[in-house]
Amino acid sequence: MEFAELIKTPRVDNVVLHRPFYPAVEGTLCLTGHHLILSSRQDNTEELWLLHSNIDAIDKTSEWRLSYVNKEFAVCPSYPPIVIVPKSIDDEALRKVAMFRHGGRFPVLSYYHKKNGMVIMRSGQPLTGTNGRRCKEDEKLINATLRAGKRGYIIDTRSLNVAQQARAKGGGFEQEAHYPQWRRIHKSIERYHILQESLIKLVEACNEQAHNMDRWLSKLEASNWLTHIKEILTTACLAAQCIDREGASILIHGTEGIDSTLQVTSLAQIILEPRSRTIRGFEALIEREWLQAGHPFQQRCAQSAYCNSKQKWEAPVFLLFLDCVWQILRQFPCSFEFNERFLTMLFEHAYASQFGTFLGNNESERCKLKLQQKTMSLWSWVNRPSELSKLTNPLFEANNLVIWPSVAPQSLQLWEGIFLRWNRTSKYLDEAYEEMVNIIEYNKELQAKVNILRRQLAELETEDGMQESP
């Protein structure tokens, strides 16, 4: 099969591209075997590669398709306009499935594992209710992701108890009778105000001039923050293990599918896919699995740990995710292209930012607010070379591995860079970092010089050689 056979029109001019957070771009669109390339006529925008990083996966397999059923945000208000679903399910079926899932969040593709073709899907809880409602389209949809004769796993981020109690309010879980090929695992992850309280207690403990080691450790334990980290990382490892080691596809959901679900899907990708550990790959991950996936940033990050007014929907879900990424980064210091500062920067901007990236609760709101016309994108600032150089990890060595973090409590540490940032000057650590960066820069300069001198030497030698021959 030649790629050329699949590409009907390799090039189209005068295409206008609309994307969230960026102004509309006009240019020439080219289709290659693996990418969509938009080359802009305007001077100040660069070439854009790979509009949707999962298109790569779809191109290769043809088991999946892009669906525009949600393009008016009518089917699911918190999903983006384009989602990836199994090819065999049509848009009508999707509408029916959306009515069976909390918030209309029908199962969509989150990640495709190239090594063995297994996938991570995510959704909201099924609205089985006390009557044990079922939806054949829903069953068909997720069964479509299974290979013949293979089983899948459903990871429910609520305890069995909580999941059962959800039925009284119209929610529930996938019953074995209706989903015989799927095995359900419950891995409880805390959410909502419990997380916010945990953050508040932790920050209090960090700020206390305790002068007493026992009191400090006591308060650290009582905040339970590290317990939450361990819970989330353990579930993410479980998800990754199902995909990579068991060779099974998984579906992840909690209640609404906008908090712990996203923590698990995004962390699992960090574990499984080396590309998410590069800067661009990580940015794409955040765009895809948090921003476009509809994590309600506006509500969750309205207030942080110091606020005195009554808390409603706030919860440090994204911060916990960043903390988990930091834990993995610490255990694998050479496997990430970005450094801790990158994560700290994302934490700051999620709560308060001059950029529009983290505004709104989902794509629908961002479109209504016309953010792409009215605000600047965080990524456009971060990706400038002068900024990027401060956020790059000098020890990065690209590898193709799946990295398995240790979740033993001894391996997890308090993220000093966030929680103890203002307690004492990090001047010395910064200096050490500066020193390292300077060394690398100087190294590059010297190498360049050496190359020039070598070339000159070679030229001189050939000149001599030419002069010598008669």
Binding site: P333, P409, Y442, N443, V450
Partner: protein
């Protein structure tokens, strides 16, 4: 006693499991007088695997069917498992290891037999720290002199031959003062801080007893110290026992310096843990670290309960206090506990790391350890007889030196550019203090080392570590000379569990080592590129 009497079975077939660190090794196991050897089978690597028997802390054996398993828990916290073919072989080997790993005699220990290629006997023993340090002091001030009153170790069996004392005080005064101090440890100079003209001294407790005895010579000695320091200098006596413990010590013949007898000197109490409670703290910490299945709550609970980090905080705080008094308040300090051989040395050596940039270089740090721990008479043989896994009845063991290394590590973490050495050196010192082919940490005092002829018949650890091929693991590639004092934060939030030591064997070290290697490559790459720039040719 012949070693061969203790070895019941010479050899057996075995497989060695080394945990996450490396793949298992299969081969022939042999027990020799000092080592356990595994000679790998034809399909494995050609290297011989060796374990110094002295590094075994505890041994557990289990037999099932026709083979057995021996679990060796080492003093450096590594756990190894041997699967041996043959029940009788297993039991015999276990018994041999047990007997050989706990031999108490110094002169038949391995350092007396260790003769590696490339090292000459007598190397690196030549630098005598008190003498060398005295030369440095004499350059800055002439208020001090080197006294050899303890030449034959008659006055104080735990001090070295030469000590630094005030010039104005003669040897008779020292002799009397020695009789007034526990173990003969009269006040001697530990460190002279030139920028402020003040000094740090150490000693043991005065033997005031219930009758509140005094000693005019001891008082004269301390008066001379203040007189020789910066004019108007005050003195602080830093007692590493609580006020209550110090008072109780009088009942058994010890005590504290009476206020009236030592005008100009004010006493402060900063209790530091020592002895049995410190060893227990170490044991409980290692236990907690060894359990990866526990919940986060339990882990944090156990971490708090063992109080190890609390001890680290106390040690660093006290050292900071001493350093601050010297540098900022222009005061002289005398540090002592009861015996003056444990927490005293912890405080004086840490205070020097804080104040003196020289002690942060590799050479300076080695000298600091020689001077303030080894020659100052810290009883290594007793303190490091057993580590955290030992099941033997505890006698005099205590991880005071390890606590010192932990505090140094905390300093290095807070000031990553200011120490010329890295974690590798601290880990090496921890290992060798408990079990070593080198003679540096043998015995309890200089006197014992002279009797056993340690310096002429064993190799010094420093000559081993200072070989070029070891340097890469021990040096800090980011080091820049920092002429200032470095003041660590002792807030509990700033102190961390030393993962590299306590969790060294439970988590694969690979990523951290790869990162260290990468940093080295970057740094030496720069140096090589600088060096390889071709000079312009004519």
């Amino acid at each position: 006693m012949e070693f061969s009497e203790l070895i019941r079975t010479g050899r057996a077939q075995a497989q060695l499991l080394r945990g996450p660190e490396a793949p298992p090794l299969r081969g022939t196991l042999c027990v020799t007088g000092h080592h356990l050897l595994l000679s790998p089978g034809p399909q494995s690597t050609p290297d011989l695997w060796l374990l110094l028997l002295r590094s075994v802390d505890s041994i557990e054996k289990r037999v099932a069917g026709d083979s057995g398993t021996i679990t060796l828990r080492c003093k450096d916290l590594r756990v190894l498992q041997l699967e041996i073919e043959g029940v009788e072989a297993t039991l015999d080997i276990a018994r041999s290891i047990e007997a050989l790993s706990s031999l108490e005699s110094v002169i038949t220990s391995f350092p007396f037999f260790y003769r590696p290629k490339g090292l000459r006997l007598g190397d690196s023993w030549h630098f005598l720290p008190p003498e060398r340090y005295y030369k440095r002091v004499a350059r800055e001030t002439d208020a001090w002199r080197l006294s050899e009153v303890n030449e034959d170790f008659g006055l104080c069996p735990s001090y070295p031959r030469a000590v630094i004392v005030p010039r104005a005080v003669d040897d008779d005064v020292l002799a009397r003062s020695a009789r007034f101090r526990q173990g003969g440890r009269f006040p001697v100079l530990s460190y002279s801080h030139a920028p402020s003209g003040t000094v740090l001294l150490r000693s043991s407790q005065p033997l005031t007893g219930p009758q509140k005895r005094r000693c005019a010579e001891d008082e004269e000695l301390l008066r001379a110290v203040l007189a020789g320091a910066r004019p108007g200098a005050r003195g602080f006596i830093l007692d590493t026992r609580s006020a209550q413990a110090a008072k109780q010590a009088r009942m058994t013949g010890g005590g504290t310096e009476a206020k009236a007898a030592y005008p100009g000197w004010k006493r402060l109490h900063r209790p530091l843990e020592r002895g049995r409670p410190l060893q227990e703290s170490f044991v409980r910490l290692v236990e907690a670290c060894g359990d990866p299945e526990q919940s986060m709550d339990r882990w944090l609970s156990r971490l708090e309960g063992c109080r190890w980090l609390a001890h680290v905080k106390e040690a660093l705080s006290t050292a900071c206090l001493a350093a601050q008094a010297m540098e900022r308040e222009g005061a002289c300090i005398l540090v002592h506990g009861a015996e003056g051989t444990d927490s005293t040395l912890l405080v004086t050596s840490l205070a020097q790391l804080i104040l003196d940039p020289m002690s942060r270089t590799i050479a300076g740090f080695q000298e600091l350890i020689e001077r303030e721990w080894i020659q100052a008479g810290h009883p290594f043989q007793l303190r490091c007889a057993h580590s955290a896994f030992s099941q033997a009845r505890p006698k005099h063991e205590a991880p005071t030196f390890l606590l010192f290394l932990d505090c140094v590590w905390q300093l290095g973490r807070q000031f990553p550019l200011s120490l010329e050495f890295g974690e590798g050196l601290l880990l090496a010192l921890f290992e060798h203090a408990y079990a070593s082919p080198f003679g540096t940490f043998l015995c309890n005092s200089e006197k014992e080392r002279c009797l056993c002829e340690v310096r002429t018949r064993t190799h010094s650890l420093w000559s081993g570590l200072n070989q070029p091929k070891e340097q890469r693991k021990l040096r800090n590639p980011l080091y820049v000379l920092n002429p200032l004092a470095i003041w660590p934060s002792v807030e509990p939030q700033s102190l961390r569990l030393w993962q590299g030591l306590f969790l060294r064997w439970t988590h694969p070290p690979e990523p951290a080592e790869v990162a260290w290697e990468k940093v080295w490559q970057i740094v030496t790459g720069r140096e090589e590129t600088e060096g390889s720039q071709p000079t312009a040719s004519a």
